[in-house]
Symmetry: C2
Subunit: 437 residues, 2 copies
């Protein structure tokens, strides 16, 4: 089975764990059997591999997520990187071209496209296989998943099937309705449209060539930022005559708010936290080292990260966005392809960060124009290259770098260091990349 996972943009509705550069799918919140925690993207990837170890998984996403994906899934995962934001039709067209032109998959093969962030069980992935098998038959050009509604939601579009068979032709699509109208749709046998569908690669390739003038993947990639923004639903799905829907009645949850996310949590406390006996319906998700003590609270979520602390009534948590927008702050924690960094201290003319490099990884070779830097190695071994000079480093070693000097550090084992940045204009933009000779 070929799968394209759409890994969507940033969002603040799960602040302080999601922010401008960190999407909710990367929050490690789901307990695994060994007691450690995994993120939505790790969970979905693991689930796919459990159902179909041979599955080819390609993640379609923006450049900003590449580091997090590699950090969480390893370097071997296929990533179709979108050079900009152009809505879902260009994204799916690009990913489809990536499958044929880069991964070398036969255009006669089918692919299933689905979002990376539904909270589902193994039966969902078996259903994806069902979509793929159905598309294989070419009875239709597109085979959609129709999720059997559990309540008259206003959050989803609806698919009206022609009949109530497990596979049916689609009669029509309905936009997100009011709850009242949703009830009516459901009484007519309508299904939720979860944005999950299968097709033969050649079908979307042909659609793409109809709408866009391009030669191949590389050409499409190069002109990506000039493409018209248009959704796949609007460009393709709603216009397609030969279209089927397959019913799915297993668990399918959208964990987009703290209220829904905490429902899916196995433990009430992730990270350091204590709930007293008077607490009821309280969840703590704590990514900081600070212990959290909660007393006498009801239906409250508490979350802390290097970005901030949220304490919210669970219902109220869905109204978080404007408040988070009002908090202007720099990114305090980031996962990178080579490891991660955390801002520990910010002064007017200095910034102190902690850098963790994964074994075998290194930073880019770079320099800064407006700041000096000092590294103090806390643990691990590796080597630094400063203006071309190599040096082995271990715990306790200090490296000083004046502005303009080119530098990198390469980790042998996991390597942790404190970086002190000093200067009047400290900014992430002040960074020039260099080639290592």
């Amino acid at each position: 089975m070929n799968i394209i996972l759409l890994s969507g943009g940033s969002g603040k509705r799960l602040w302080p764990l999601s922010n401008d550069i960190r999407s909710k799918q990367f929050i490690k919140i789901f307990k695994q059997e060994d007691g450690s925690y995994e993120s939505m993207v790790q969970r979905v990837y693991r689930q796919i591999k459990a159902v179909d170890p041979e599955a080819t998984v390609t993640i379609a996403t923006g450049a900003v997520q590449v580091s997090s994906i590699k950090n969480q899934l390893g370097d071997d995962v296929n990533i179709s990187v979108e050079p900009g934001r152009r809505d879902t039709f260009p994204a799916i067209a690009l990913a489809t071209a990536y499958l044929t032109d880069i991964e070398g998959i036969d255009p006669e093969e089918t692919v299933v496209v689905c979002p990376v962030d539904p909270y589902v069980e193994a039966d969902y992935f078996k259903a994806l296989k069902g979509l793929s098998d159905q598309a294989e038959k070419e009875e239709a050009n597109l085979v959609l998943m129709g999720i059997e509604p559990t309540y008259p939601s206003e959050k989803y579009g609806y698919i009206i099937p022609k009949d109530s068979n497990s596979t049916s032709e689609v009669s029509t699509f309905k936009e997100k309705p009011t709850a009242e109208v949703a009830k009516e749709y459901i009484s007519q046998g309508a299904l939720w449209n979860g944005g999950v569908f299968a097709y033969k690669l050649k079908y979307v390739l042909n659609k793409a060539h109809e709408l866009i003038d391009f030669a191949d993947y590389n050409d499409l990639y190069d002109k990506y930022n000039t493409l018209t923004k248009i959704s796949f639903d609007y460009a393709v799905v709603e216009k397609e005559e030969k279209i089927q829907v397959q019913r799915f009645n297993g668990q399918w949850k959208d964990l987009g708010t703290w209220n829904t996310l905490t429902e899916a949590m196995e433990d009430k406390v992730v990270g350091k936290g204590i709930l007293n006996e008077e607490c009821d319906g309280v969840h703590i998700v704590n990514e900081t080292d600070l212990p959290i003590l909660a007393m006498g609270l009801h239906d409250v979520v508490i979350s802390a990260s290097p970005d901030g602390i949220l304490v919210s009534d669970k219902e109220q948590s869905s109204y978080i966005k404007p408040y988070v927008d009002s908090i202007v702050q720099q990114i305090m924690f980031a996962e990178k392809s080579w490891g991660n960094y955390r801002v520990m201290d910010v002064e007017s003319e200095s910034m102190t960060i902690k850098v963790t490099l994964n074994p075998g990884h290194s930073m880019n070779y770079h320099s800064h124009n407006h700041r000096d830097e000092v590294w103090v190695v806390l643990s691990g071994t590796g080597k630094t290259i400063v203006d071309g000079m190599e040096q082995s480093v271990k715990a306790g070693d200090v490296i000083t770098m004046s502005s303009g000097c080119c530098h990198t550090v390469i980790a042998e084992t996991e390597l942790k260091l404190i970086e002190v940045q000093l200067g009047r204009e400290i900014s992430v933009e002040d960074k020039e990349l260099h080639k290592l000779k």
Copy 2:
């Protein structure tokens, strides 16, 4: 007026702002006219000086609080340091001997003793003056303040006066009663005993010599830890025949729990914090750099410090102690006489702290047996002395110190630095002081 302020021990009931080494009286929570915040001890000291600029204030406290007191009140304040914990009679006897023998005050003068942590207004300090003036007359050996009760509290002892005059002889004392019994006392004209009283210095000196064999202040200080633990109430007050009480009917609050403390807060938010409109009766006291967002909460206190995060129903907050006792942690922030330090990162074989030295101040000249250290100066100017070698330092300078090497830093201007400690056994006990030649 001479005043002895009793600055009591540590406590965890205002965790995470109070802890084993930081008492509640040092929390900066009260807004001043210029918008900055002051602590209880700063507030009381300022209030005394406003009522009587000539007042001689002596703070009686344990060694652990000396750094915080000097940091908050400056070096000029008189401190009678108790070498151990011996209850209030030895403490008051020592402070009284300090006044005569160290500050050189005539034993014929009076002194007022009061706790450092009541939340009061200017009229309270005028009432202290009243106690002092009354003690001056020598109608009685002790003149107590009797606070007119506002409710039948179970938290205080009661004083039954002989009559309802503003100054009266004391009929008897009552231990902390039940609310029912308190009502009865109040109907009989009883007053709260706030532990505030005035006497002539010679009176307590004589009592001390009756009960303890000592020559002078220095002798009493030297044998302090051998003294019997006994309260001033039990040793002196309850046995005294010539004893009067003066009524006080102004504001007098004991801010010992989060519930009572937040009642005295002018602002709902101290530090970085946002309350949405659905919050009601919510207070935030945030000493960290992390912004706090509170949504849809009622009668909740949220407090964050480098030690942890509390989110508690206000009523429930009085039951905090056992939960905090269960949180084993190192001290993450401390005020010292020379400035303060904050722990930023703890790894198995390293610890990174941020040190702020006040202008003109320095650390002790010291060494460590089991750890190396690196200093990176963030801002300010000063000099370091490492194994006797002096060096001027400024932002960006790096000083490396191997274990065993003696070192200190002396701030000219306010000086901030990052200290990275490296070693297998990092402990506050690993510190030897040395004389600077």
